[in-house]
């Protein structure tokens, strides 16, 4: 893989040498396509760039969710060792179980927006990663016409999909080595790197903690909606009570009811803001940790391959020496095989070591990126809560002089 940073000046005649290279992508304009069971959402992907590998300064293509999945899978396959940015979930079933039918419609519109936002972040993370941005698959994704894209997408069915068995293997490795001993395998099937062990444990535990935090964040969104609803109902009831009482007291009730209903609207708004700017980033964090687990699985697979080959090579060497001693006619063939195996083994070792190196760099990048992402999410959360609380205080405070006037009249 080439190492190219953007600090170098491009030499293409098209882009002036003074302008720094840039690659800006955005995902916009979700639109419903098709009908019934076949319906799907399409997105406009706009690329603005002055990089020579791209055709022109601006390109707009239409993509759907499965195109993004294709891109992610291709990157995962090609760039082992790098944490590929996560995609939002495919189905909505898990998330809106708690919502009523009436809310489902609203949720659909909001869900589409949330997904669009997540897809936008996904592509941007790829475009700003110093390795991934150079990927040809990214270029195809950003520029190919729809037919080419569709062809590419349909070719990829199943081949590069991550097998669940591999992820289970990782889990087993982390938990215990007992089964290996039981199976009689003396050789280690996993790295005996204590720092790496620590990292793996960290990643798994982190996911648990994050999942719990995200669960509570989602519940908090619901609570905002519920409080909003009950304030609205309360406001209405209080107004009716005021109509019964009449005079100054009746007016006081009526004003209280109005304020209540107004605050209900504010609460619904805050619920939405919380969902998009706090709960979603937490979900994104969980997905990112999943991606890290995927890379851990890749590393384990590469390590196993490297070990297996090393083992095979040793055996082959023993075989070969035997053949040499007996001056067999198979010696020449065996030598060929031996050399090939050695080349493969070298390849496997190189691949494994690159994954290790990349992972170390990625971990640093990952932690820094997450601190920024989560920091922003916290900021939005605190801002929203502060804004809401102040609005509530202001609304109720404005009632006090009127209530005072009532009691003195």
């Amino acid at each position: 893989m080439q190492q190219r940073s953007f600090s170098g000046v491009s030499q293409s005649p098209r882009s002036p040498s003074k302008q720094p290279p840039y690659l800006a992508v955005s995902v916009t304009d979700p639109a419903k396509m098709g009908n019934g069971v076949q319906a799907y959402i399409s997105y406009k992907v706009i690329t603005k760039t002055n990089l020579p590998e791209y055709q022109g300064l601006e390109k707009i293509v239409i993509r759907r969710y499965s195109d993004f999945v294709w891109l992610r899978d291709r990157l995962f396959e090609k760039y082992k060792g790098i944490f590929i940015p996560p995609l939002p979930e495919k189905s909505t079933v898990g998330t809106n179980k708690a919502l009523s039918c009436a809310e489902k419609f609203r949720f659909t519109a909001e869900f589409i927006e949330m997904r669009r936002q997540a897809l936008d972040i996904f592509v941007n993370r790829i475009a700003s990663h110093h390795e991934l941005q150079q990927s040809e698959d990214l270029r195809i994704f950003l520029q190919a016409d729809e037919q080419t894209m569709e062809r590419a997408r349909s070719q990829e069915t199943g081949i590069f999909k991550k097998k669940p068995a591999d992820l289970m293997q990782i889990f087993k490795d982390v938990q215990s080595r007992v089964s290996d001993v039981v199976l009689g395998k003396e050789k280690p099937v996993e790295e005996s790197n204590p720092d790496y062990e620590k990292l793996k444990r960290y990643v798994f535990e982190l996911e648990d903690h994050l999942a719990e935090a995200q669960k509570h964040a989602y519940r908090l969104v619901k609570r905002h909606r519920e409080l909003g609803q009950s304030l609205s109902d309360f406001g209405r009831a209080v107004k009716l009570l005021g109509a019964c009482e009449g005079e100054a007291l009746g007016k006081a009730f009526s004003e209280l009811g109005t304020k209540s209903e107004m605050l209900s609207v504010k609460l619904q708004k805050e619920a939405q803001h919380l969902l998009m700017n706090f709960e979603e980033p937490l979900k994104d964090y969980v997905r990112a940790v999943h991606s890290v687990k995927g890379t851990i699985a890749e590393r384990a697979a590469a390590f196993r391959q490297h070990c297996d080959l090393a083992e095979t090579i040793k055996l082959k060497e023993i075989d070969l020496n035997k053949l040499r001693l007996t001056r067999s006619e198979r010696t020449v063939d065996a030598e060929h095989e031996y050399e090939e195996l050695k080349a493969d083994g070298e390849e496997a070792r190189r691949r494994f070591e690159m994954i290790v190196r990349l992972m170390n760099e990625e971990m640093v990048r990952f932690q820094e990126e997450k601190t920024l992402d989560v920091g922003l999410a916290f900021h939005e959360f605190a801002k929203g809560q502060s804004r809401l609380a102040n609005a509530i205080a202001d609304a109720w405070r404005s009632l006090l002089p009127k209530l005072e006037a009532c009691s003195s009249s």
């Binding site: 908090l220 409080l227 009950s230 109902d233 801002k383 005072e404 009532c406």
Partner: protein
Amino acid sequence: MMGSENQEAHPHASREEMQSLILDESSSSSSTSKSFSSYRSAMTTLSESHHPLSLPIATSPAESDPLLSPRPPPQHRHLQSPKSTGNPNMQPPLYFADVGAVNGIESPSPSQSLEKSSPFSRSSSSSSSEYIKIAVSNPQKEVQSSNKIVPGGNTYVTYLITTKTNLPDFGASEFSVRRRFKDVVTLSDRLVEAYRGFLIPPRPDKNVVESQVMQKQEFVEQRRVALEKYLRRLADHPVIRKSDELRVFLQVQGRLPLAASADVASRVIDGAVKLPRQLLGDAPSTIGPQDAVQPAKGGRDLLRMFKELKQYVANDWGGSRPLVDEEDKEFLEKKERLRDLEQQLSNTSQQAESLVKAQQDMGETMGELGLAFLKLTKFENEEAVLNAQRIRAADMKNVATAAVKASRYYRGLNAQTVSHLDTLHEYMGLMLSVHTAFSDRASALLTVQTLLSELSSLNSRAEKLETSSSKRFGGDRSRFRRVEELREAIRVTEDAKNCAVREYQRIKENNRIEIERLDAERKADFLSMLKGFVTNQVFYSEKIGNEWAKVAEATSGYERESS
């Protein structure tokens, strides 16, 4: 982990400090004392004339006419003076017991919590020195000495009832007595009988539960609280606080000297025994004056119950208008309005409950979120390899701390909200009393109607008997005797009718005054409830807003970086 919590100043005064504040305030609110004391003295006059067996008010000829106008008779006129004052300055009644503040949480300033958490009765703040303070405490199990049938007596719980007062009727300023729940039921029943037409606070439920549950700590405590509330409400009522029944209940040691309420079965049995004798003429079949002022229902006079039932049916289905009817339009309007009010109260009360639940859930979830973040913080700090992790952990700790604090504020907010909106529940309970007061009036009217038709039938019988006699030959003496008996019955019934009419008038007046009092107090209470609710929301929202503003400030760097 929340070290800063403990360092927060606690402006929330202790109970004793609050009490002293109230006393200070009461001595300075002299402006309210005048209007209230005239109201109170008027009520006292009313109470003195309430007793059913006394007829202090001489009836002028104009008032013996059963078709009285709705205007009350002149001697009640002096009671009209408090009507217009409406007493807006009256301090709202403190119906509920002291709501202990949630530990460690600042609650609104003492002057606010004053209005709802003082254990004193309302009157302590208005007129200069009149008060009755009641406390219920110290529940103890006692064993009733066995009656002959059941060996080993049954156990029951008694409560210590302590009273502090300076009302002259009591003759002492502080005293206590032990009572059981059955005694409270007796007190309540006697009051309901004696104070027809008044809004008598509803007594705590009987709770039919098994004896095991009866003795459980929780149940006993619940009941103690309910009893205290009930007795304090009685002490708040301007008329009932001066009643003999209450005084006797609070003061007389040993067995409660009030007539125990006979159960329905024995009453009916008594009545059933009497009935045949009434029909045969051995027992009096007329309603005497002293009975006319008691309701028929629940009494031992089955015959009278039948007569009134007949009248009731005749009123409804007979098609003929009874001789006296509920003509007071104002009353009917008020009744309608109160029915509406009851419905809206119930609705609002329900929504208030949902609101409280939603607030509670919000606080809980916020707290859980905070705890989850705290766990994450600890985890990141322990496992930190890179600086980015430590920074993130620090940010997270800020957020977690704010979330936990906000959660505690929500809990405090909710506790106060519950106590404020409780006023709605209180008034819903009071609606039951309104129903009772109105049905007292209806039953008194029914008695009057019954007696009137009885009278008219007696009169027509007497007439017939007198005119028919001239044709008879030799039956003079027995006829004369029969006519005399009829005349006697007519006289008794006439007296009874007069008493019944007076009673009806009295109850009507009680209704009117009580409804006025209800309206005035309700307005004041609701206003205070609204003020408390709103003040509460402002106080806690400000606190919550401040916490989050701090975090927003601390994390503002991330916003600048991302844009």
